[in-house]
């Protein structure tokens, strides 16, 4: 699914260069459910930016599917983000002035699909996350868990092969967190590759495998998640 080899990233801070990612090397197979863990400042958001084609890297190689991601034009990058990757954020990032349905439909807007068609599709996806009756509500009228479900429906609507979730349960209580993780597991079981960035060991434990970052370096990359011994053996489905 994706492969990073010797990826380095520097940030220029004043006259100093900050080495944020150091020779990051790992691979995620199709249909895997992987957690990326690390303390804040360990470089995990930078890594997520690079994985999501929201940021460039300075050296090394990043391949998404069969495509080498480097020096893409902005519109090319936008198109890949739109068709290959679904994002789920800690703070949901729904557009506050759009209804749940319109929020879910937004990625299809950027594919040039007609309003009627995309609202139809969006309704199906809302149904899948159990929010069919909330289609016409604004985000401000929904609970955190509901908002995150809407965000997940939005991430799924363009039929991406990869879901990147950045602390998806960071703003939720433990019960809701569990439900959201259940949802992500379900998605994984449909064959979509899911990557979760988290600092919560309980979240990481729900995945098949954890990649740990410390000071921009990968440590113990191939450690299987203890509480899900059976999962690693599951065959990877290609959507």
């Amino acid at each position: 699914m994706l492969r990073l080899s010797k990826v380095n990233k520097y940030y220029q801070v004043g006259t100093h260069s900050l080495h944020v990612l150091r020779d990051v090397d790992f691979e995620v197979s199709d249909g895997e459910f992987v957690a990326i863990m690390g303390a804040s400042g360990s470089g995990k958001s930078t890594l997520l930016n690079i994985l999501g084609i929201l940021d460039d890297y300075d050296s090394g190689e990043y391949c998404l599917g069969e495509t080498k991601i480097s020096n893409l034009s902005e519109s090319k990058a936008a198109s890949y983000r739109n068709r290959f990757i679904g994002f789920v954020f800690q703070s949901f990032n729904l557009l506050p002035f759009k209804t749940a349905l319109e929020n879910v439909a937004l990625p299809l807007y950027y594919q040039g699909i007609t309003r009627r068609k995309r609202n139809q599709i969006a309704a199906q996806y809302l149904d899948r996350v159990g929010l069919r009756d909330w289609a016409d509500h604004l985000p401000s009228e929904m609970s955190g868990g509901q908002k995150q479900r809407v965000a997940i429906a939005r991430a799924l609507i363009a039929k991406p092969r990869l879901i990147l979730a950045d602390e998806p349960t960071g703003a939720l209580d433990s019960e809701t967190s569990k439900q959201i993780m259940d949802l992500l597991s379900e998605i994984h079981q449909t064959g979509i590759t899911v990557l979760v960035v988290t600092h919560d060991p309980e979240v990481a434990a729900r995945t098949q495998r954890t990649i740990r970052l410390r000071d921009g370096k990968v440590v113990g990359a191939h450690e299987a998640s203890a509480s899900h011994p059976g999962m690693a053996a599951m065959p990877a489905a290609v959507p």
Binding site: L54, E74, S75, A78, S79, N82, N93, L95, Y110, R154
Partner: protein, 412 residues
């Protein structure tokens, strides 16, 4: 290029930000309103100027005999100059003159003689002007009945009289004055015409009689007090040249220094008109500069507000980019919004400006006549607005397109 969806996105944003939209719209509408109003006002002032000058020939020149102020040819200062019929005949031959007349001041009264005029039992004093036939061309008079004085009236010293409307109303009331005999002083004159003047009743209190008849009847010899002429299409410089020739002739015959500023007094409508035109041109230019400045401030205001809007929408733009919005789609979204806002607000301002100009035009005012802007100006303003809107939107839009999604999304 047209996409209903894109417009719906724009309307969505506008609806959601009523205050911001209103502020932006007001600043643009105000700018355009001021520009249109000032442009129209400038036009109105210009029209007013022309209308004012239309009362008398705008290309008229009046030369009055006066007193010398420079000793010349053995004569002391303070000598009174009087023109004579010969001066008129000589001036008539000068190249460039279109119409020429001269006036004899009856009784030597330089401010127009007031003469007791009688018809039957009615009597009043009216202004008497003894002139040549071309005199009509120097005034804005219009004949309502009969005719003006003819060259034959002058040549044959006929006792013809042309009277103003006020005179006709006073002496004859409803009856037709043509062919009737009136007594001016103690001489009888036959009315041959009645005139009206846009200047109103005061201008119509006048009676014209042939210069030759006046000189005979009122013991005027061959004296003339004023030579009057028009110079056709001549500009200020050419007009001055014609004046110089005539003053030169007069100076030669009457022995005064041609550079003497007092011996003859020249009143030149052209110079006056050109001076006013220049003044009004400066006012108009000033007004346009202020208008454009106001509009520019409005456009900068829009740009500013859009810039703030982009800041405020950083998160939204970040989300859109993460979901697959291309930089161009972001630029389009912001620019389209700005163009739409400036366009609609501009048209409102334009309409308001035209409406206020219409009201202003209804006021009865001598200085501002028919203030308006023409179609090309309106179209120009509309095109300008769209361009200004695009410009006002483009720079903030470019800033928006550069938003880094992750920074935007991390920004709580």
């Amino acid at each position: 290029m047209f996409s209903l969806d894109r417009w719906l996105e724009v309307f969505d944003t506008i609806r959601r930000n009523k205050l911001r939209t209103a502020l932006t719209a007001i600043s643009v509408a105000w700018g355009i309103f001021v520009l249109v109003f000032l442009l129209g006002l400038g036009r109105g002032l210009d029209n007013g100027l022309r209308a004012n000058f239309a009362r008398d020939a705008t290309n008229g020149v009046w030369i009055n005999a006066n007193k010398t102020s420079v000793a010349h040819g053995g004569y002391d200062v303070g000598r009174r100059i009087t023109f004579e019929n010969v001066d008129y005949e000589r001036a008539k031959k000068v190249e460039g003159i279109e119409y020429i007349s001269a006036q004899h001041f009856v009784g030597g009264n330089r401010w127009g003689a007031s003469m007791m005029t009688k018809y039957g039992a009615k009597a009043n004093t009216f202004e008497l002007a003894a002139v040549y036939a071309d005199s009509l061309r120097l005034q804005a008079h219009e004949m309502t009945q009969g005719r003006f004085l003819s060259p034959a009236d002058i040549a044959q010293t006929r006792k013809s009289a042309v009277i103003g409307q006020t005179v006709a109303k006073f002496l004859f009331e409803q009856a037709s004055p043509i062919g009737e005999w009136i007594t001016i002083g103690s001489t009888a004159f036959q009315v041959v015409g009645v005139f009206t003047d846009p200047g109103g009743a005061e201008e119509e209190r006048r009676i014209y009689i042939p210069v030759s008849t006046a000189q005979l009847a009122f013991n005027g010899g061959e004296k003339l007090g004023q030579i009057q002429m028009t110079v056709g299409q001549a500009g200020p410089a050419e007009t001055q040249a014609i004046i110089d020739v005539i003053v030169g002739q007069l100076a030669e015959r009457h022995n005064f220094d041609p550079t003497d500023p007092q011996a003859v007094r020249v009143h030149n409508n052209i110079e006056q008109f050109e001076r006013f035109k220049k003044l009004f041109w400066m006012i108009s230019t000033f007004v346009i500069v202020i208008g454009l400045g106001t509009l520019a401030a409005g456009v900068v205001g829009v740009s500013n507000i859009m810039m703030i809007a982009v800041k405020e929408r950083t998160k939204e733009i970040g989300v859109r980019k993460a979901l697959g919005a291309t930089p161009w789609s972001i630029v389009f979204m912001i620019t389209q919004e700005a163009v739409f806002l400036t366009g609609v607000a501009g048209l409102l301002g334009l309409s308001a400006g035209v409406a206020v100009l219409g009201l202003l035009g209804k006021l009865d005012n001598d200085f501002i006549v028919n203030p308006n802007i023409d179609l090309s100006m309106g179209v120009g303003a509309a095109v300008f607005l769209v361009l200004a809107g695009a410009l006002a939107g483009y720079f903030p839009a470019r800033a928006a397109a550069r938003v880094n999604p992750i920074h935007a999304l991390r920004d709580q």
